[in-house]
Structure formats: structure tokens, C-alpha cells
Amino acid sequence: MDGAVLTTFIVYLIGMLAIGVIAYRLTSNLSDYVLGGRRLGPGVAALSAGASDMSSWLLLGLPGAVYIAGGMNQIWIAVGLAVGAYLNWQFVAGRLRSYTEVANDSITIPDFFENRFKDSSKLLRVISALVILLFFTFYTSSGMVGGAKLFEASFGFTYNQALWIGAIVIISYTFLGGFLAVSWTDFIQGILMFLALIIVPIVAISELGGWGSTVNTVGNLDPAYLDAFTGMTAIGIISLLAWGLGYFGQPHIISRFMALRSVKDVPKARLIGMVWMVFALFGAIFTGFAGISYFADSPLPDGEQVFILFTQVLFNPWVSGILLAAILAAIMSTIDSQLLVSSSAVAEDFYKAILKKDASDKELVWVGRISVGVIALIAILLASNPDSSVLDLVSYAWAGFGAAFGPVIILSLFWKRMNRWGALAGMLTGAITVVIWSKLGTGLYEIVPGFILATIAVFIVSLVTEEPSQEIQDEFEQAKG
């Protein structure tokens, strides 16, 4: 491995650990540990939400899809994601921030469901926490597999060395600093990802002689690469656009809304978040598109390496090291957020809610920390066999969260008549539909039927069961502000 690249990586990893140590000193109770004591400014909240959302898919998967699958017909998923993220910031962020505070200062999504519907049976809390724990353990594990494979291929580590190095750094700063460490590291990682996705395509396209020349080379290879509709069916386009529906139910993303310092910060955070996301998506698309032209004479065996190869051929090793660290940043920023949400499910939704109601703050923070370690260890064990079929579960984790939690969260914020039975029915209908639909092989992304049926289930079941109590309705009005 090049010394400059290695040095850049070591500096980057030490920086992340240092943030964990600083955040450790500022963390004294469970609210601090899982939500940063609700003191995130708009910039950190926005970039942290973006970096947690976008894993290595943004730097490797999307450019790779554009490079391999046919150019501009891959834009639909980016359009769906950008619109979904905007609607999430516009309609969910502020209301959720305010409602979680009104509803007994809820600090996790299961906590919010229980407090929003005054569910003394703990059914909503336990089921939603189990869904989070199950999917995120596999999701985290899958991220670790992706990271380890990437660094095995790029830097000559063995698979297991790469797996443990990455995991130890992520566990260390998440274990120590909790939400503040995760948010601050995500913020820095988000900036790194953004800069990499702006610099790489600009330099690549200028190396190719400019935009016109790049388009001409691609058009000469196949004019179909220049059209967004070629090779796409209506169901294909709808399925790609529907990825945007997933945002409303992703616990690791919407927890950033709950952690904002104030509802008044939402507009600024939304602007920062959308600028970051839209230009990062453009960067990823144009990286793949430039790759079609740049590597026309010697096509890449693995299209997902297009970003990595650009960093190696276009930049000196020091810059290349920083740009490659952006890939590690993308992977780490997603895994750490998922680990933290999972640990909060154990500490807040199982330990405090069921096992030990009078647990002290200090005790709960340590339960959270130990949970980070245990969940990460399970994820590492699962990841130690990268071909395990159990990892296939993540293929519908995005759809699962989107359909199970999305309609329930939106309607719980905007429909006063909704009750806990409706919430439970929506959650189960969304999750079950996603699991069953994914086996049917219809070609339609399972989040579409899952989201629609879950919404219908919430409406019907809420309307045929008892009206929410006056206390719940008063709280709803209070959260509306």
C-alpha cells in the first residue's frame, strides 16, 4: 500500500477516535447518549442525517450502476431519494421534533410510539424495538462485509484484518461518545463524502476534454446511454422512485430530527441537508457517467470500482488517500448510527422499560455502551462469513423500515383519530407485506404495496376501534403548536 494513502487513513481514523473521547466527557445520561441531549445544530443534524443515510452505495453503488447498467436510465433512484428526503424534512422533521418532546420526552422511536398512544401494554414499544434490533443487526453486519471486502481488495489486508480494524474504530467511538460522537463524526464524514463526490467527476470530465467531449464519447459507444427512459419499464421507474418512501421510517435518520436543538432549526437544516444530498447525488451520477467514457477502451471488470479507480489515476497519493477515506467515511457513518439506534432499543426499550424501571442514568448509559459492543460483536460474527444467506435480509431492510414505520409515523403526527391498534396494525401489515411481496418476484419494489397497505390498515383499524382518549387528543393539539 502507498505510504501516503496509509498515513492519510491513519490520521483519519485517529481523528474519529479523538472525537469519541471528547464526546465521552459530554455524555452523562441516556438522553445524552442516544440523542445528544437534543442539542444538535442545523448543520450537524443535516449532514449527520445525510451521512447516516448514504452508505458506500453513494460512492460505489450508484456510480457503478450508472457505469454498468446503462448511463442515464439510473437517475430515477436519485430523483426518488431526493424528493423523499425533502418531503421527510418538510413534513416529518419539525412535527416529530416537537411531538417527541411533548410525548413524555421520548428519545427513541419505540418510546415515541408508546408515549404517543399511551400504550400501557408495551406491545408497540416491544414490537418496534424488536424490528429495529433484528434488521439493524443484519444491516450493520452487511455494512461491515461491504467495508471489509472493499479494503481487502484495495489495500491488501486479509478479509478478517479489514473487518476487525474497521469494526474496532467504529465500536470505540460509538461506545465512548454515543450520539454526540456519532453525529460529529458523521458531520466530518459527510463533508468528506461531499467534497469527494464534487471533485472526482469535475476532474474526470475536465480530463476527458469537457462535458461535450464526454457526452460524445459515451454517445459513440451507445446513444441509449444518453436517455433516461431506454431499457426502463413503467414498473421499473416507479420502483426506483419509490425508494424515496423509505425515508419516513428509517430510525437512524429520523432520530436526527428528534435531536435538533429546536424546531426553529428545521428550515436551515433542511436547506443544508438538501444541498448536500442533491449535489452528492449529481456527483455520483456524473462519476459513473464519466467512467463510461474514461474507461471505454479498457472496461472495468467490477463497475463498482469506478470511483476508486478515478481516485487512483487522477490524483496524487495524498489526495487519493483523502478521497478513498471518504468511502470508509460513508460506510462508518451508516454503521455507527445503526449501532447506536440498536443499543438505544436495548437500553431504553427493553432494559429500562421492562427489566429495571428505576435504573439510574449512569447505569443506562453503560447498558447502552455494552449493547453497542454486544450488537457489534454479533454483527462481526455474522460478517465473518460474507457469503451467509442471512445477510440477504438487508435487501429488504430499507423497504421493511419504510413500510412498517413510515405510514405509522406520518399518520401519528398528522391524524388525531389514529389509535394504538391502528399503529400496531400498520406496523405489522407493512412489515409482513414487504416480506411476502419480496418473494413474489413481481418486479415492483416491495415498499410500494407495503406502504399503501400499511396506510390503509392504520385508517381502517383506527376507525373501527375506540377513539383516542381526550388526553391523547390534547397532546396532539399541543404538539401541533
Binding site: I75, V79, A82, V83, Y86, V215, N216, A228, L271
Partner: protein, 49 residues
């Protein structure tokens, strides 16, 4: 032969995504009522000072 992206591709690539940025900019400005409230607070503070 000169090639370019099709018009529909440019439209779907640029319009929806940039619209989310434009809408974010438009909605980032404080509303009139917020400005009035802020001004009132400012003048009240001056009065007390």
C-alpha cells in the same frame, strides 16, 4: 456526430432534484409573522434597556 443528453433526461435529472433545493431556500426564510415577532421582541428589549 455530436451527441447530447435527451431533453426528457435533462428535465428529469435536473428539475425534481433542483426543485427540492429551491423549495428549501424559499422555505428557509423566516415567515412575516416571525419577522414581526422578532421585531417586537427587539423593540421591547430596547424599551426595557
Amino acid at each position: 456526430m455530436e451527441y447530447s443528453l435527451t431533453g426528457a433526461t435533462w428535465f428529469w435529472l435536473l428539475v425534481p432534484m433542483l426543485a427540492t433545493v429551491v423549495l428549501s431556500i424559499v422555505t428557509c426564510k423566516p415567515s412575516k409573522s416571525e419577522i414581526v415577532t422578532t421585531n417586537n421582541v427587539a423593540s421591547n428589549s430596547e424599551g426595557r434597556g
